[in-house]
């Protein structure tokens, strides 16, 4: 199971890197979304996927799921959700202001704005 997850995570990272390297802002944002999905899955997998019982203290239960990665993922998902929402609005504002979503046209420096 961990092996399968590793492949899935790898594919997610691959797609994310491909999208982040493109020129359109929207594709880049989708890429960061995939990247954080991959990171979250990795977090879950790294805690170990074994364990059949819920992590509640009870007599004779030794084979329980690790609760910590789940708590971590919950936090990380909320954060990446918020940041993605923010960056989408920002990308829209930037598009309205610059009339382009092409990162190549958004270089610019002080001397030639």
């Amino acid at each position: 199971m961990e092996f399968l997850m590793a492949i899935v995570i790898g594919i997610l990272f691959m797609a994310a890197v491909y999208l982040i390297l493109s020129r359109s802002i929207l594709k880049i944002i989708l890429g960061t979304g995939l990247l954080s999905h991959g990171a979250h899955l990795l977090l879950l997998t790294m805690g170990g996927l074994g364990g059949t019982s819920p992590p509640v203290l009870a007599e004779g239960v030794t084979d329980y799921a690790d609760p910590l990665p789940q708590a971590l993922i919950l936090t990380a998902i909320v954060i990446s959700f918020g940041v993605t929402a923010f960056i989408l609005v920002l990308a829209y504002r930037s598009y309205a202001e610059h009339k382009t979503d092409n990162m190549n046209l958004m270089k610019g420096n002080d001397e030639h704005d």
Partner: protein, 495 residues
């Protein structure tokens, strides 16, 4: 008083929430921000005194036993950094009253600053590696707002790059924490240190160490990951730039110092060798940038990069002199960068441009500004008895003790480049014939109001240098914890 170390985190947070309800009332915003920061400052000073008297303070939230709950730990290093952070923010806020403009003040400028301080102080104080990620995000999200606030074309353009870089490095942070968790099975930093010592740092831990270096290197602008910094930092207005330049990269540096003295201390030859090599390259790259530009903002921004290199080089020596120097220089750099950016802001306000070629002759019209700038510039370059000197002296001493002669020479040479780069601003802006340059009409009262916090910060940095003898006990306390992780571990795990 066991909750004392939480106050510098919670107080700014509380005041930020209150401020959200007074969006239109600028007077309330200003006064509440000042009151909040003053109370936090008092709490932070109490914390420093408490840590000095009783050693490392630790608290585990929710009263869970230590490795299970989230620990907050305040040793001397983090207490000092928290205090400096609040102090600088206070002066920058006072400066913002005249410099930032009412439009921005009305759109959550002060709450954003306070939220950022919450995140910064939290990152300095936390004793849990995942909690550090959360506090990083808190400060980053507040900084996203600050960098884009105002919505100028240039700000929008640069903030997209800034956010993308930080989103990617945050994802990498989560990935690294996941790897670390899979190896040691814990997130409490003291516990991680114990577990790594038990397994004796096999190869996988060294890989994680390098991953951490990449993550924090992006935040702290280490070579070759500093590429985003000059462009992004130049976009927002000066008070925001002062906050970013003085505080944000320092959080990354703190995180590197903390992880490289607490976790990864069993294969120093590789990890710390890599760190010091990258630090030296950072210094060289920063020097090139500092001399290449004719824009005052960019010159000082590249000086941030140089300082990052100097501090991390000191930390990488892993001996007493080097680490004491790094801690000393870290606090010095926060103060002096804050002061310099505020002064640069006044120069830009007075001349109406940030291009050195269009300035000249300010010494005739604005002499106090010139003298203050000169003192700050000498302090930055490290001319005794100003504050940069002691830190650099200790770092170079540490490097010689560690047999790193080549590195010491680069540090010393970089001081000359730093001096040259800041004196170039002095020569271009303050010397010369005032009649050739036409100054825009500016309000003399605004100028004086802007001068006050800047002068106060310069005086503070001078006192920091002159009073270094008195401060050394605090610095050695901070270094002791860095050199002997057992002090930190005992404070957290034996409660």
């Amino acid at each position: 008083m066991i909750n004392l170390l939480l106050f510098p985190i919670i107080l700014p947070f509380l005041f930020a929430i209150i401020l959200l309800f007074f969006k239109e009332n600028i007077k309330v915003q200003r006064s509440l921000t000042c009151i909040g920061l003053l109370i936090s400052l008092v709490a932070a000073l109490f914390l420093v005194a408490k840590v000095k008297a009783d050693g490392v303070q630790a608290i585990t939230l929710g009263s869970w036993p230590a490795p299970f709950g989230i620990s907050m730990v305040s040793d001397m290093l983090s207490a000092l950094l928290v205090t400096t952070t609040i102090l600088i923010t206070l002066f920058v806020v006072l400066y913002s009253f005249t410099a930032i403009g009412e439009e921005r003040e009305r759109y959550f400028y002060y709450p954003a600053i306070l939220f950022m301080i919450t995140g910064i102080n939290g990152a300095f104080t936390t004793g849990d590696i995942f909690n550090m990620f959360v506090f990083f995000e808190v400060l980053l999200i507040a900084s996203y707002l600050l960098i884009v606030l105002g919505g100028e074309k240039k700000q929008l353009r640069e903030s997209i790059k800034y956010i993308l870089v930080n989103v990617i490095s945050s994802a990498l942070f989560v990935i690294t924490v996941a790897y670390l968790y899979s190896v040691v099975g814990t997130l409490n930093m003291a516990d991680i240190s114990v577990k790594i010592a038990e397994i004796g740092q096999p190869g996988i831990i060294t890989v994680i160490a390098v991953l951490f270096l990449i993550v924090f290197g992006v935040k702290g602008s280490l070579f070759p990951l500093y590429f985003w910094l000059p462009g992004s930092y130049a976009a927002p207005p000066i008070p925001v730039l002062a906050l970013f330049g003085a505080l944000l990269t320092k959080v990354g540096i703190y995180a590197i110092i903390r992880t490289y003295t607490l976790f990864f201390v069993h294969d120093i030859g590789f990890t710390h060798g890599l760190l010091s090599a990258l630090a030296l390259l950072t210094i060289v790259a920063g020097c090139i940038g500092a001399l290449a530009y004719f824009d005052v903002k960019h010159i000082i921004i590249y000086n941030i990069v140089i300082a990052v290199g100097v501090i991390l080089f000191g930390a990488a020596q892993m001996n007493e002199a080097g680490l004491t120097g790094a801690v000393f220089y870290l606090v010095h750099d926060m103060l002096i960068k804050g002061a310099l950016f505020l002064l640069i802001g006044i120069i830009v306000y007075v001349t109406g441009t940030s291009n050195l070629r269009k300035m000249g002759g300010l010494m005739k019209t604005h002499a106090p500004l010139g003298w203050m700038y000169l003192i700050a510039a000498f302090g930055l370059a490290g001319i005794p008895p100003l504050s940069g000197f002691v830190g650099k002296l200790l770092i170079v001493k540490g490097a010689f003790e560690g047999g790193n002669v080549f590195g010491s020479i680069i540090i010393l040479a970089s001081s000359l480049v730093v001096l040259l780069s800041v004196i170039r601003i002095f020569i271009y802006a303050f010397w010369g014939d005032p009649t050739t340059v036409e100054l825009p009409t500016t309000n003399r009262r605004t100028y004086r109001k802007m001068m006050m916090p800047a002068v106060a910060l310069v005086i503070l940095s001078v006192l920091y240098g002159v009073g270094s003898e008195w401060l050394i006990p605090y610095m050695t306390d901070a270094t002791d914890v860095l050199l002997q992780p057992s002090i930190y571990i005992d404070a957290v795990l034996k409660e």
